[in-house]
């Protein structure tokens, strides 16, 4: 079973739909005990960094989620779910992130239009399981105002105002800033790669 975390403000329904379309059993999850039964965990994201972290904490899911990730269970963070992996975010300076990736999430700047909404290309910079079969310069659908900086774990970057992490991978931990559930065939391929790892 693939657990898709629903923290109340995310877009878990469309992620569930895509996972089921690919032939995998999945479940929307709002309680920590479900994480133990799951083969893999997806943290979709939308909205505000503080809302996500507070909601995960109030539902007592933050520590179980960290433990599941550390135990080696497959994890996919989407959009805000990627940003959660960093130490923190300028969107909510008082909140801590999971701290799995070094650095802080920052606000996009240097562009007239923010949020970054639409289809942008990603450049693959190192091989990653979730990017198998994805050509460099492929387009994916983004919708965000904050970005995760490029780190040693960054598998693909995208340029909008600045260069940021479009996809990261660290052992069992995978995350994408774009929305694979809204990125057509490319997005479905990314999801499939994760589900089949």
């Amino acid at each position: 079973m693939i657990a898709v975390i629903d923290y109340g403000a995310g877009n878990s329904a469309s992620v569930l739909k895509a996972v089921q379309h690919l032939g995998f059993t999945s479940k929307s999850v709002i309680a920590p005990e479900c994480l133990q039964d799951a083969e893999k965990i997806v943290l979709p994201g939308q909205g505000h960094f503080a809302t996500m972290m507070t909601s995960l904490r109030e539902r007592h899911m933050l520590e179980p989620l960290r433990e599941a990730i550390e135990s080696g269970k497959g994890f996919l963070g989407i959009c805000l779910g990627l940003q959660a992996l960093y130490e923190g975010s300028d969107e909510a300076p008082d909140e801590q992130g999971l701290g799995i990736l070094p650095g802080r999430v920052r606000k996009l700047e240097g562009v007239f239009k923010i949020p970054h909404v639409g289809w942008s290309q990603m450049e693959v910079r190192q091989p990653a399981k979730i990017l198998e079969g994805i050509a460099s310069s492929s387009f994916a659908y983004f919708c965000h105002s904050y970005y995760g900086p490029v780190t040693a774990q960054t598998a693909a970057t995208t340029q909008y105002g600045q260069k940021f992490s479009a996809a990261v991978e660290l052992r069992n931990i995978h995350a994408v800033q774009f929305h694979p559930e809204k990125s057509g065939e490319i997005g479905l391929q990314v999801l499939k790669n994760f589900l089949e790892t």
Binding site: A13, H21, K113, P115, G118
Partner: protein, 272 residues
């Protein structure tokens, strides 16, 4: 590189796609789910579904239509038409819409935009603005009017049937401040005429706000799309008839735009 988006629009009435000129003289253009599938395959970047049913029965059909369209679709879907409350929006999102467009109800109650953004996030809220050019004061020659900013656009509501005194640029700014994530801007002067987008209107709004502007109304030739991106500063362009009645394909249109140096996302045949 951020691509300029091409968005086919499905105007739906009682479960069918229809198309008319300025919301009148409707003709049938097919089944929504079938058209959605075709556009997805041709490389649409997003789909917009607008309900133009006036009846309660029509509204109930809409939820079914959204469900059917969304089921096999893995690109963003915006749904609008008759959204008046947070509950209306919630129902559409629950059926698989990613964004809801609000128009008349937001003009009558601007706080609706804020309530929707607070509840679902700005990324899910599209302010749909129908604008009409105001009759020019006869005393000035046209180029003088442009210079003196005498050309203005007012917001019209109820499908273009009711004028308001609201300035379209001011309303766009206010909608952004209230939390709208995008603006779907329809020129009521150009809509359905297939004589080109209103590039002055689009450019004025696009430079007045920091959120993306989707230009709508007037798409005819492929050149019209190039114009609205290059001169109108649009982030996306929406059209209906040119796609429904197969004047040209989305793929063909995008190849043309690419040849004009406009960044677009081209999906290879059989890949979508």
């Amino acid at each position: 590189m951020l691509a300029k988006r091409i968005i086919p629009c499905l105007d739906c009435k009682d479960g069918r796609v229809v198309k008319g000129v300025q919301f009148e003289h409707l003709r049938d253009a097919g089944d929504p789910a079938t058209l959605a599938e075709r556009y997805n395959e041709e490389g649409a970047d997003e789909l917009v579904l607008l309900d133009i049913s006036a009846s309660r029965e029509g509204r109930a059909t809409l939820l079914q239509t959204v469900h059917q369209v969304a089921r096999q679709l893995f690109i963003p879907l915006t749904v609008g038409g008759g959204v008046r409350t947070v509950e209306d929006a919630r129902r559409l999102l629950a059926q698989g819409a990613d964004k809801v467009a609000v128009n008349t109800a937001a003009v009558e109650n601007p706080q609706l935009v804020r309530e929707l953004a607070d509840r679902f996030g700005s990324q899910a809220v599209v302010a749909a603005i129908d604008a009409r050019r105001q009759r020019l004061p006869p005393s000035l020659p046209p180029d003088e009017q442009l210079k003196s900013r005498a050309i203005t656009w007012n917001v019209v509501i109820y499908g273009g049937t009711r004028e308001t005194a609201l300035d379209a640029i001011g309303w766009a700014r206010q909608a952004e401040a209230l939390g709208a994530g995008e603006i779907l801007l329809t020129s009521m002067d150009a809509d359905g005429a297939q004589t080109g987008f209103d590039c002055e209107l689009t450019s004025a709004i696009s430079h007045a706000v920091h959120i993306p502007v989707i230009a709508s109304g007037g798409a005819g030739r492929p050149e019209d799309f190039a114009e609205v991106f290059l001169r109108g500063a649009a982030d996306a362009a929406l059209a209906a008839s040119v796609f429904h009645f197969r004047q040209y394909s989305l793929r063909g249109l995008k190849k043309y735009l690419e040849s004009r140096g406009i960044p677009v996302r081209i999906v290879a045949e059989g890949e979508a």
